[in-house]
């Protein structure tokens, strides 16, 4: 193979580029593998049409009576929510500061998304799938939970409320 002409200065620059790319890879791998910082990726299916029923895939996890904040048998806080035009259900929840919380979302109709500003609670909610995110909140106060994927002409009106309180003030 023929060699190509590379200026010595450019050779140095290519080295700098390689270092930059390697650094970005290493930092991300470190947080992914060592700190388990992963985006929501559980690949778990559910029948959005039968979401409210106690049979079918999912076994009624998203039936109306089962929504909201609960503690599972391991003591882990779990939030089960339905995203549907044009709100999140339940519409208002209270959660403790600085504790790991697992959220599970399912869509009743179309594509939705959710984001709580100033936090990394962010996920798509795709009909046919359950989205699971585990995170903890680092700021006290009232935050909106906003739909962040276009879901129809009233998309802007799709939001709920999350109130973050100090751990000792939180009770189920």
């Amino acid at each position: 193979m023929m060699a190509i002409h590379i200026h010595p200065l450019e050779r140095k620059w290519l080295f700098v580029i390689a270092v930059i790319i390697l650094l970005t890879w290493v930092v991300q791998l470190y947080y992914a593998l060592n700190k388990s910082t992963h985006p929501p990726s559980n690949v778990e299916v559910i029948d959005s049409v039968r979401l409210h029923l106690n049979d079918g895939i999912g076994g009624g996890e998203f039936a109306e009576t089962n929504l909201g904040v609960k503690r599972d048998k391991n003591g882990q806080l779990r939030v089960t929510m339905v995203a549907a035009r044009y709100s999140f259900y339940p519409q208002e929840i209270v959660l403790p500061l600085g504790e790991s919380i697992t959220f599970r979302f399912a869509s009743f109709d179309v594509l939705h998304g959710l984001h709580v500003p100033f936090s990394n609670l962010n996920s798509m909610v795709v009909p046919g799938y359950i989205s699971e995110v585990t995170t903890e909140f680092t700021r006290e106060g009232e935050f909106p939970i906003l739909c962040n994927e276009y879901c129809g002409t009233a998309h802007a009106f799709m939001y709920g409320k999350i109130k973050i309180v100090a751990k000792e003030k939180f009770k189920l």
């Binding site: 580029i17 984001h115 962010n122 795709v126 989205s131």
Partner: protein, 559 residues
């Protein structure tokens, strides 16, 4: 438009002695690019309206129906119509001039143009009447009128004619000129044509096999998870399809316009090849927050996503070095003395520098988007449209303007109406883009979701947003004025009585113009096979999984 038609016929007459391939290049170039810029100027004021509507400052404008029809039309026109027709026009022009050979079939080229244009007109009807307010990303299970999808498909099919034309042209030239180096400009155009064939396959599969059958009632349900996966195949690479001509112009037109030479021809080829290979198989950073793909695949795509920074960093170095060479050739001395000697009054040179500045900042913003975990802070917030307006609307489109200022006089034989106006236009576009996109990014960091037509949230956070909305309004007003200045300059050039003296179209020469280059940098077949392998690795399982994970399908919904 009448002026344009008379110009086209004037060209045909006055160039009777001109070789056929040159007049074909001019005609196809001019018609395609006029469609592009017409789409641009229709879509531009919609952007201003959207910023105004969204700010809640003008109660009379409030209408969700009009807003979402407008934003869908703005997106389709700017992202699909403007870009595709510009790239086709630039490609036909480049093929004629750089290869100096006949197009293998002029009829074939015009057929593609007519099919694409017909598709646009078809899609425009439901879009403008509010019957396809599904955004330019049209994610199922929300669906619009079937005519919208059929029109959009025809636009893509028409553009495939162009891709085939470019690939055939380069192949024929290589056969006729064995052992010779394909001109860098045409190497770039052809690899972009091949890139587009790969890129558009994802969305084409989604529309043809999932959406159109459902909207026509042939099938009842589809899987939105599969649809999003197929769309991610297209959604990132398409940005490189748009950006490619900007890079090509920086490498092969700017150096000559600057009165200098290209720093390195070979590194240009390396950058083009890398931009190709790391464009399509990395689309999962658009799906980081999606539940239907597993973390390992997202991590795999992350590696490739960061690799696309390499061709951009190479380009930054080469183009900066090229500008320095031109400044020094024109008498610039010392560490930075060459900067002031650069031909800043040339639109292509000025456009390149302004594009590079926007690319630098926009690129670092892109690093956040590409980050496996940091993405969750900005995903689907206003940060995202802020980012792509800076890279596409800023970096890419400012180069489209620069190309038009350079090409129009050489196509129609009339001098540019006003170079000064062109320079003012480029500067105002540059500042307008900053004033619009800087607050846009900040709104995203402050948590504002994208694609909202009003801000009804009664929280302290929503109150933080207001000042940024006002700044954005000023920025979009400046952009709108700037866009009209551009169109006025082009139309006045058609009406100009002053003849263009320099009709020659020649491309930049490198400091060390290569007589030979390795086969890998002169041919596409290896890279095409490499793309196939890389695509099987990165999209193979993630697509096949939908056959057996048993997703309960979705029915279509209106919006």
């Amino acid at each position: 438009m009448a002026a344009i038609e008379s110009d086209v016929s004037a060209i045909i007459q006055s160039n009777a002695q001109e070789s056929e391939h040159i007049s074909t290049a001019k005609k196809l170039g001019l018609w395609n690019m006029w469609v592009a810029f017409t789409a641009f100027i229709i879509a531009l004021p919609m952007g201003l309206y959207q910023v105004a509507e969204r700010s809640d400052l003008f109660p009379a404008l409030e209408s969700a129906q009009v807003y979402y029809a407008s934003i869908s039309t703005h997106g389709v026109l700017m992202a699909y119509v403007f870009s595709t027709f510009f790239i086709m026009g630039f490609g036909y022009h480049t093929a004629g001039y750089s290869l100096q050979q006949k197009l293998w079939s002029t009829k074939f080229a015009w057929s593609g143009f007519i099919i694409a244009l017909f598709g646009v007109v078809l899609a425009a009807i439901p879009l403008l009447t509010g019957n396809a307010s599904v955004m330019y990303t049209f994610y199922p299970p929300e669906v619009g009128h079937p005519i919208f999808y059929i029109g959009a498909t025809l636009l893509i099919v028409g553009s495939w004619f162009w891709s085939v034309d470019m690939i055939v042209a380069m192949t024929q030239w290589k056969k006729a000129n064995p052992g010779k180096v394909v001109p860098l400009v045409m190497f770039g155009v052809t690899i972009n044509a091949l890139l587009w064939l790969w890129t558009s396959a994802g969305v084409a599969a989604e529309v043809v096999f999932q959406i159109i059958p459902v909207t026509l009632g042939l099938t009842e349900t589809f899987d939105p998870g599969l649809a999003r996966t197929l769309f991610s195949w297209t959604l990132h690479a398409i940005v490189y399809f748009w950006l490619f001509p900007a890079y090509i112009v920086m490498y092969s037109i700017m150096p000559k316009e600057a009165g200098g030479k290209l720093f390195s021809d070979e590194m240009g080829r390396v950058a083009f090849v890398m931009l190709f290979i790391f464009s399509v198989p990395i689309g999962f950073h658009h799906l980081y927050m999606d539940p239907q793909q597993a973390a390992g695949w997202k991590l795999l795509h992350m590696f490739g996503t960061f690799m696309v920074a390499v061709p951009t960093l190479i380009t930054g170095f080469t183009i900066l070095a090229t500008l320095e060479i031109s400044g020094r050739l024109r008498g610039g001395k010392g560490l930075l003395g060459w900067v002031s000697r650069i031909k800043w009054d040339n639109p292509v040179v000025l456009g390149t520098a302004l594009a590079m500045l926007m690319l630098t900042v926009g690129g670092w913003g892109g690093v956040i988007n590409a980050s496996y975990s940091m993405n969750s802070l900005i995903h689907n917030t206003q940060w995202v449209p802020g980012h792509f307006h800076l890279i596409y609307g800023g970096t890419t489109v400012i180069m489209y303007f620069a190309v038009a200022y350079w090409l129009w006089p050489k196509i129609i034989g009339r001098a540019l109406y006003s170079n000064k106006m062109a320079l003012i236009q480029l500067w105002s576009w540059f500042f307008g883009m900053w004033i619009t996109t800087a607050p846009w990014h900040i709104l995203g960091l402050l948590g504002q979701p994208r694609r909202v037509n009003t801000l009804p949230y009664d929280t302290a956070i929503a109150a933080l947003w207001d000042p940024y909305e006002m700044v954005m309004l000023a920025g979009s007003l400046l952009l709108t004025v700037s866009g009209f200045l551009f169109i006025i300059n082009l139309v006045m050039t058609h009406l100009n009585t002053r003849k263009q003296d320099d009709m020659s179209v020649t491309y930049a020469v490198a400091v060390h113009q290569p007589m030979h280059v390795p086969k890998l940098l002169n041919s596409l077949s290896f890279w095409n096979w490499a793309m196939l392998c890389y695509m099987i690795i990165s999209y193979g399982y993630p697509i096949i999984q939908f056959a057996f994970i048993g997703t309960p399908q979705s029915t279509p919904w209106s919006y």
